[in-house]
């Protein structure tokens, strides 16, 4: 067969193996960046500061950088595997090819739960932000937040339904604005432009380690919040024009952006807000960057950071809908779930049934569950996914050593990143257990029950041969 350009307008991403309607290959590296950073950046605007409450400002910085190492490992490992296994479903598809169906089923569920819960948490936050704006503009009563929560989910689901290019271009614009807002706040408050308002020495004195070393361990849990979701870039694998180039480029640029944003956020907020206020994300500083802008005394900064907070929230919810629906779609396409979910819209070329199906689920969590529980279940599902990743890359390199298959990106220092990631995951599980032991046990119990269901019932419906699509040689030792 002659060289075929699958990205040409004639082919349009469709291949010769029976796909009549497939997902559209239209995205570039900037969209991958926008998907990954868009999901995460809300964590800089709110949530990370609970780490300060657990162990003080220094503990939050240690958590920020420890989690930064963890996620750099995640980004490198993901870039290598997903540039090779470039299909919707991301880590689910990786698990299917490298570990096996039961692992894949679990990873698929981790992804759907982590993203759908995060989407619900974002919608709750957006509703809250609108109520804050109402109060600031003189509204006296208690604003009903429900219509705004529902509107966020409905509008973003509709956008996702209509096409991936518009969805992620929208994310690119609002994520960039939210990131620039952090840079502008740093420049304006640190003394680089105008007078600085930083008081690090005075604020830290006598509060270096308010709860000792155990506080620093406990802070680790919320350090994840700075980066949680960057691994979502892999879900775009089937919709990028050049997976081998765009996925590593977008993902690694994304983690670099987040390392900068996280460190700047910590520096800005801890230098202006006292740790007792900063660390109380419920009754104290709900949105620390916004609170810092308020203390700067500049109206322009207040508006800019207010808009940044809202945009970061919307970008995260938008990316979560995109990712959860791709994972659900991939599970359906392989008949791990009913094949009905594996449908693609003939005109918009999106997994439309999966997008619509997950809307009521997100609404139930957004309207019926408390925010901290929703966030905790999202983090726990994410953490289970991160624990899978080092095992995945170790098996990948063992079964298909370098040179046996073409990789879009090869991560350096193997197996050090995998071992570091595994150790940090174990450490974070311990930190989560300190604060949310019951939820952790309940969550693991849930995954054991669904695994049994999959093994003893559902797997009989799976197309066992057809699910392995990668044209790879037999793995070493088989």
């Amino acid at each position: 067969m002659a060289q075929t350009d699958i990205t040409s307008s004639e082919r349009d991403g469709m291949g010769p193996h029976g796909t009549k309607v497939g997902l559209l290959r239209v995205l570039g590296p900037a969209h991958v960046w926008a998907l990954g950073v868009g999901i995460v950046l809300v964590g800089e605007y709110m949530g990370w500061n609970f780490a300060v409450g657990k162990g003080g400002a220094y503990a939050a910085l240690m958590a920020c950088w420890f989690a930064g190492i963890l996620y750099s490992c995640v980004a490198m490992i993901d870039s290598e595997v997903t540039s090779t296994v470039a299909a919707a479903g991301g880590q689910y598809t990786q698990a299917k090819h490298i570990v096996g169906p039961l692992m894949a089923f679990n990873v698929g569920l981790y992804l759907v739960f982590a993203y759908t819960m995060l989407e619900a948490a974002n919608a709750i936050t957006a509703g809250y932000l609108v109520s804050v704006v109402a109060t600031m503009t003189g509204y006296g009563g208690a604003l009903d937040q429900r219509p705004f929560i529902i509107l966020v989910i409905m509008f973003l689901a509709w956008l996702n339904y209509r096409g991936v290019l518009a969805t992620l271009t929208f994310n690119l614009v609002i994520t960039s604005i939210a990131f620039i807002a952090i840079i502008v706040l740093f420049l304006s408050t640190s003394g680089i432009i105008g007078d600085g308002i930083m008081q690090h020495a005075a604020l830290f004195e006598g509060h270096e380690k308010p709860y000792g070393w155990i506080g620093i361990v406990a802070a680790m849990h919320f350090g994840l919040w700075f980066y949680l979701g960057i691994e979502g870039t892999t879900q775009a694998a089937e919709e990028v024009r050049s997976p081998a180039r765009a996925l590593p480029f977008g993902t690694l640029a994304g983690i670099m952006t987040l390392l900068i944003a996280a460190t700047l956020t910590w520096y800005i907020c801890s230098g202006v807000l006292p740790w007792e206020f900063l660390g109380d994300g419920v009754n104290g500083s709900v949105a620390p960057l916004f609170d810092t802008a308020r203390l700067s005394g500049s109206n322009a900064l207040i508006w800019f950071l207010g808009i940044g907070t809202l945009f970061a929230t919307l970008a995260s919810a938008n990316g979560c809908i995109n990712d959860a629906s791709r994972a659900w779609f991939a599970l359906g396409r392989d008949k791990y779930l009913p094949a009905w979910f594996g449908a693609v819209h003939p005109q918009y070329r999106t997994p439309y049934r999966s997008i619509v199906f997950l809307v009521p689920i997100a609404l139930i969590f957004a309207l019926g569950a408390p925010l901290d529980q929703v966030i905790t279940f999202s983090i726990l599902s994410g953490l289970l996914g991160y624990t899978f990743m080092p095992l995945n890359i170790l098996m990948f390199r063992k079964k298909w050593p370098m040179g046996t298959i073409k990789r879009g990106y090869e991560h350096p220092f193997h197996p050090i990143p995998a071992i570091v990631l595994l150790c940090l995951c174990a450490f974070t599980f311990f930190a989560v257990f300190l604060g949310y032991g019951t939820q952790l046990v309940a969550m693991i119990g849930f995954y054991i029950v669904v695994s049994l269901w999959f093994h003893f019932w559902r797997y009989r419906f799976v197309n066992r041969g057809a699910q392995f699509t990668m044209p790879w040689p037999k793995p070493l030792g088989y």
Partner: protein
Amino acid sequence: MMETWNYIEYAAWGLSALFGLLMVMDWIKTDSTYSEDVLTSSREGELEAMTEESHKG
């Protein structure tokens, strides 16, 4: 200001319903226009399969 926000609330309810309706109507239209074979014909790894065929020359 109270009134303005009350109107914004109604608008949010209305827009939510509109987006929901647009999705559900298009969903029903799509499902009744195309056969299930076409809609669920997407297969994983099409790009990779083609690259492999190209390599075989």
